[in-house]
Symmetry: C2
Subunit: 103 residues, 2 copies
Amino acid sequence: MKLASEEFDRISKALADPQRRAILQKLAVTGKLNCSDVHAFFDVSQPTVSHHLKELSMAGVVQREKQGQFCYYHVKSETLTAYVAELQRRLGLVAVQVAPRAR
Amino acid sequence: MKLASEEFDRISKALADPQRRAILQKLAVTGKLNCSDVHAFFDVSQPTVSHHLKELSMAGVVQREKQGQFCYYHVKSETLTAYVAELQRRLGLVAVQVAPRAR
DNA sequence: TTAGCATTTCGATATCTATCTATCCATCAG
DNA sequence: CTGATGGATAGATAGATATCGAAATGCTAA
């Protein structure tokens, strides 16, 4: 999975907020939660949780699934994995893969 | 290398700004630059560059070295590597390492 | 349809921060 | 010492955003 520069920016910002990271981490360990569930874990208002979930969703690091009255969110590991890979690439933390020359 | 939660927060914030990431990336590929060098590469004022370098420095992702009149900055890969590892750990992107039981 | 809950949206506010100009401090060359 | 240059600091400002309470929307069940 390849990230566009714009997506990369958005993910970086999404991960910059501690509250949002906490929510994401909670989702990572519990698997799947709805907005109210998340709200129960943290000391912020429910609209704030909704806002953060939206940001995470827009960044593509969580997936939103509407099931009737509820809205379930779960982590999209592929995106996060791609983000980490891209971060490592940009910061020169990994050996650069050179594509074989076509001839 | 183990990162304190506070350091992790600071690094996340440091990496959230595109301009700062660009500076860091430039440092990563060139190895070592002073403030003026960095300034020459980007379209922001020298104080702004100084500010960003300070942020990066406070976050521990770059090292500052004063050499006479000049101030050289270079990437601290250990910190960045530790950051990425911690990020992966928190987001559940890696298998958890269990320490062997002492007996 | 109506009551009630889940979630989002709205509008406001306070804080944070990226950026600038102006200025100051330190070091080097003469 | 003096002027020039690298770099940091001070102070101001504009824009972003995390947060809230209130209201709107959407869905389910009775």
